[in-house]
Symmetry: C2
Subunit: 356 residues, 2 copies
Amino acid sequence: MSGKRIFIIFVIVLISNLLATAQNQQKDMDRFTIVIHGGAGTILKKNMTPEKELEYKNKLKEALTAGYSILANGGNSIDAVETAIKIMEDSPLFNAGKGAVFTNEGKNEMDASIMEGKTLNAGSVAMVNTIKNPISAARMVMEKSPHVMMVGEGAVKFAKEQNLEIVDSAYFYDEKRWLQWQNIKGSNDLELDHSDDRAENNRKEFDAEFSDDGDRKFGTVGAVAIDKNGDIAAGTSTGGMTNKMYGRAGDSPIIGAGTYANNKTCGVSCTGHGEYFIRKVVAYDISALMEYKNLTLQEAADIVIHKKLKEIGGSGGIIAVDSHGNFSLTFNTEGMYRGSMTKEGKPIVSIYKGND
Amino acid sequence: MSGKRIFIIFVIVLISNLLATAQNQQKDMDRFTIVIHGGAGTILKKNMTPEKELEYKNKLKEALTAGYSILANGGNSIDAVETAIKIMEDSPLFNAGKGAVFTNEGKNEMDASIMEGKTLNAGSVAMVNTIKNPISAARMVMEKSPHVMMVGEGAVKFAKEQNLEIVDSAYFYDEKRWLQWQNIKGSNDLELDHSDDRAENNRKEFDAEFSDDGDRKFGTVGAVAIDKNGDIAAGTSTGGMTNKMYGRAGDSPIIGAGTYANNKTCGVSCTGHGEYFIRKVVAYDISALMEYKNLTLQEAADIVIHKKLKEIGGSGGIIAVDSHGNFSLTFNTEGMYRGSMTKEGKPIVSIYKGND
């Protein structure tokens, strides 16, 4: 080959590389994406009314659209994640914030965590009661304290100092959830009249709620987003499990288990049977598989949720976004309240397996 | 080559493989090992008296030997780890159990966790006060509850139900540590007479303790062991930080951050500035680097402690044992109270950099 030909080929390669880079940068500017979940569990269509379905889907769309608007306007992913989660916390539909369940001592014990992928800064609160939006308290721990995790009264005290909204515990009172608790409480309380019709009805309602559609048990909420700068953030918030043992903490406040974000790989928020998610360090494991084994986000999510977690009997799911704006909504249960919204600007929400 | 020659070569290869397998099995039966730590920090020889040094070394040897005896007699690694940690918890030398420090509200808030590598079962307690041995409570959570993590009053209640030893908070009273707290408390309390000679002396004592030798701050204890069956276990216990913000939890109760064990890879117990260990998911990351990148234990420990942790300003160290019985005692601070005991049956303990 002549020197001239080699030169021409060289120039062509150079130009096409420059074009590809420009295209990637353009693509990167458009990669902003937000995904959310409202819990995974035995959610079956046969147990759902069209009205209830619509109520869930509308609330998911509202949360997605609010987070998306922030991203579309050039806002950062931490704001988008916090905003989307607050909307779900403020709804009684999900087991977080307003809709948090009661422990076997009639208490609300809420957990939340948040992490930003650029700095690996993180914040978390566990076992808090009167904080209206636990996700905002987690963010304050990240931004305004020297700590990552704060627990119980100390965390509430800190939230007050940060002027976060504190509510009376009556705020969390939701008749349906209160009846749930009254029923289980009754089952250990011999003084309660079990022949009482109302108690019996309550029990049936509870049983239906709990065994037919597990959303009450697995109603954690979460959001993950990447903004126009390529910064990833992830957050998770939960009210725990109905009638759980007092003092039990799940994976939601645990960085690495329930929440993780790293600009190099991905952001992840989990929902499911928390004990298994802690033992399998689920959120960080997805990131580690991408970083150390060069797997794609979906390959990593499939291995962790469908193989590693299942091997030890763990059920639940994850939502995640990678550094290119690809996302994954992966679960091994019957359903997961979930949604995504990318640059196309159309909120897509689903509840059951498939796209329904 | 004739068929006969090929057959002879085949037989030779077969026999040498069988011999190698037998040798490995023999080697594996001998691989039982235990390592411990009593905290990492700015521990300098110039600030230590020979008496104090000896006191630390003797207690480390006592803990090592107790754990070793269990392993040598065919016992399991969980028992060895719990036994070694209990001895350090019962000593006022370390910031765990008896020697736990006071928060800025004059309270003890102790955390502990334990994990077994065979089943990936794990247990943890956080923010507990009157439990004499938090590591035993963590083990009870692992073995007797459906949960992995229990926090605060609920965890104490559970420990009582499991007949664990509960002590009056006066048990944790240690004059030196109480003076430490009184001093810092005084610094925020205008009613306290700062011109008081004793207060002034106390402050000096505290300053010396805290800034010259950081062991009071980083006095977490931990143990990792592999038994004759090849089962790995790891545990960690801490009293937190002097004058820490009330409600702060570090990495010690967090599976994946402060403690991790997996028979496939290794067991790890961490000590140091907990916030950084949580953000870097340190204990699990060492395991992930071994599993996903085929690094040796020491290579993985070096990357995490000397590179990844240092990049974000995190100080501390880890002790770890891999599935072949190799161990690592790695830290990026001036010193770490540490020790190891392998099948040779000789306890080796050190405090500063090098082998001193």
